[in-house]
Amino acid sequence: MRDRLSSSMLTVAIAAAAAGALVSVPVTRASAQAPAASVTPPAPALTTPWGEPDLQGIWTDETDTPLQRSPRYATQEFFTEVQRAELDNERSALLRRDRRVERGTELDVAGAYNALFMTQKRTGARTSMIVDPANGRIPPLTPEAQKMAGADREFRLALLQATETCRSKSVACSGGKYDPTPSPRIAELPPRYNTARMNRHDGPEDGSLPDRCLTGGLPEFGAATGSFRRIVQTPGGISIFYDVGQGQGWQRNIVMDGRPHLPANVRQWYGDSRGHWEGNTLVIDVTNFSSKTDFQGSRDNLHLVERWTRTRPTSLEYVVTIEDPAVWTKAWTVRQEFGKQSDQENRLYYEPRCIEGNYGLPGLMRGARTEELAFAEGRGPHPATKDNATDFVGVEDDPLQ
């Protein structure tokens, strides 16, 4: 199975397809980020006219860095220049490729998106966004979290077991097995509130959150369809708008006056952000996530501490510590560096118009009802033998990931 980031990136694409405007945003700064990105130069204090640190502008990560470090780089924190050049060379060969599987198969037409739709940026300096633990990997899950993840995976694989995807041993069925008899589990509720695509479309709740235009939110590390944030400040106030997920943009209004978090019974998709300044760094504590969100298995108990620092006029450092003792055996930390984008070009898609053009979700349900009717009338195969969930086959495997 792919990690959460890439699979959510791909499913977003389906839901938002009809919104039309796949805004491809050219990265304005020619990359070649300084290899010594870890050495933060003493920054001239950039301040707003009212004297607070100035983080304003449109920001994006201008390079591609995997969340977790590939085991082949072991303890190597930074790529060498030679490694980066090789990776860029390999990866640029994939640009605009249209990967196909056997023509006429379900999997071939399931790939709604190919490389043309994906932003591919130059390889970043780091071998992983994760800077703690030192191995660049997400810490081990707790036994309870492993059990839950396993139960969830088993359920999803059961729904796929009678399909061509499992018969042909596609990567989408890895860990599962082919059985021509549909699983009785198709009548069951998932082990927990569903947030990801499954091979069943009984109702909207069977859709993934991106398919339902309910993309999660924080932490936001970007995806191949782009990830931009616009920060606007006012004395004592900060607003951040995220342009992510092809029109699933959302916003944060950071509460900066020192008051406590929301009551525990008030839960939000994007959590509750409380910020304060530590020197030139904006520190934001985020809690109160909704039970309907999921980040790598963490839900309402997710706790983030973000640190935003303007390190150079064109650079914003973002460091976030991620904690949920019920899910991970220790807290872990991700670091990203964002580059400033042109205010005048304003290449930011700030309308979260996903539901307005969501033909995908009703289409999946309409298709499922049609297949059920055809089966009932003896005109078609058992619906559970069809795979209406797997969607990534059109995208090349990025050697960086």
Partner: protein
């Protein structure tokens, strides 16, 4: 191009979809602590930062109207228009489903200068409110409607950008005070370019699509919509908000609306999410469920039975019924 489900004929709808508007916050005169820390000016200009909300009936109908029993009515005992009664979608809500009256926010003679054919469309819109109003589907509300929806919004004012975050459906817009390129396509929320006229913020809004409405009464526009908004402080907690509305495809001349918008002065005020696209999934897609939750889907038509049952424990009713 509209989606299949948009064209569906939903004769009546879940009551909850029609509610929601009548609740508006009570605004007090007490200024919160958060407000006292906010400077009156940013870069020498009046500082509109803070959380705001209109407190009027404009979202029901921009024009003057008497209170009526419900947003959706049907003929009652009498065959008269003035004696209509609530229809099924809102019947179970009692007085909470009724529409409050208003003197309207349209300036001058109070009329909206529709072209004749556009006026006919407006009437048709009103008759098919549940089927057509984008608010019920949680679509982006557009401008100016976002400014007087019964939901708060937050202004974050800097020197080159003013960002407005609306609670309704994650909607946002940025007012550009500096030089900016236009958008690549039409938009739901428009492209907002601002300038200062003394202490008044003047915002020119263009690049609209034709999908949004002005209110629940079917008032609408085309993609030729052009707005000029004016924001002026009346007092530290009241903005006077005026909009000149121009759309030569729909109206015979420009017209204006105006209203106060009030600061949400509660000391602990915070913009909370109202992510309604989740709330409207049944409304939008219920006909496509394997096991319908609403019992009467016939094809794409939802029919709602209203059951009014007095629950045990309604002491007032028991007392009254004795």
């Amino acid at each position: 191009m509209r989606g299949r489900y948009l064209g569906s004929t939903i004769t009546v709808a879940i009551a909850a979809a029609a509610v929601g508007a009548v609740i508006s916050a009570s605004i007090t005169q007490t200024s919160g602590q958060a407000q006292s820390a906010r400077p009156a000016a940013v870069g020498g200009k009046p500082n509109f930062s803070g959380i705001w909300q209109a407190n009027n009936e404009a979202n029901w109908d921009l024009q003057a109207h008497a209170a009526r029993p419900a947003a959706v009515t049907q003929q009652g005992v009498y065959p008269y228009d003035f004696a209509r009664v609530p229809a099924a979608p809102v019947l179970a809500l009692g007085a909470a489903g009724a529409v409050p009256g208003s003197l309207g926010v349209v300036q001058g003679d109070g009329e909206i200068p529709y072209k004749p054919e556009a006026l006919a469309m407006r009437k048709e819109n009103a008759e098919h409110w549940i089927d057509r109003d984008p608010e019920l589907k949680c679509y982006l509300p557009g401008i100016p409607r976002a400014m007087y929806l019964p939901h708060p919004f937050q202004i974050t004012q800097s020197t080159n950008k003013i960002h407005i975050a609306y609670a309704f459906s994650n909607t946002a817009r940025t007012i550009h005070l500096d030089k900016v390129d236009g958008p690549p396509d039409d938009t739901w929320m428009g492209h907002s370019v601002g300038r200062w006229d003394g202490d008044t913020l003047v915002v020119d809004v263009t690049n609209f699509n034709d999908r949004t409405w002005f209110d629940r009464a079917g008032n609408y526009h085309s993609d030729a919509l052009h707005l000029v908004e004016r924001f002026t402080f009346r007092s530290p907690d009241v903005i006077w908000y005026e909009v000149t509305i121009e759309d030569p495809k729909v109206f015979t001349r420009p017209w204006r609306i105006a209203m106060p918008i009030y600061r949400r002065a509660e000391p602990n005020m915070q913009l909370l999410e109202f992510r309604c696209n989740e709330f409207v999934e049944e409304f939008m897609y219920g006909n496509l469920r394997k096991q319908p939750l609403v019992r009467h889907w016939e094809g794409d038509t939802m029919t709602v039975d209203i059951t009014r049952k007095v629950p045990p424990g309604d002491l007032f009713y028991q007392w009254y019924g004795r």
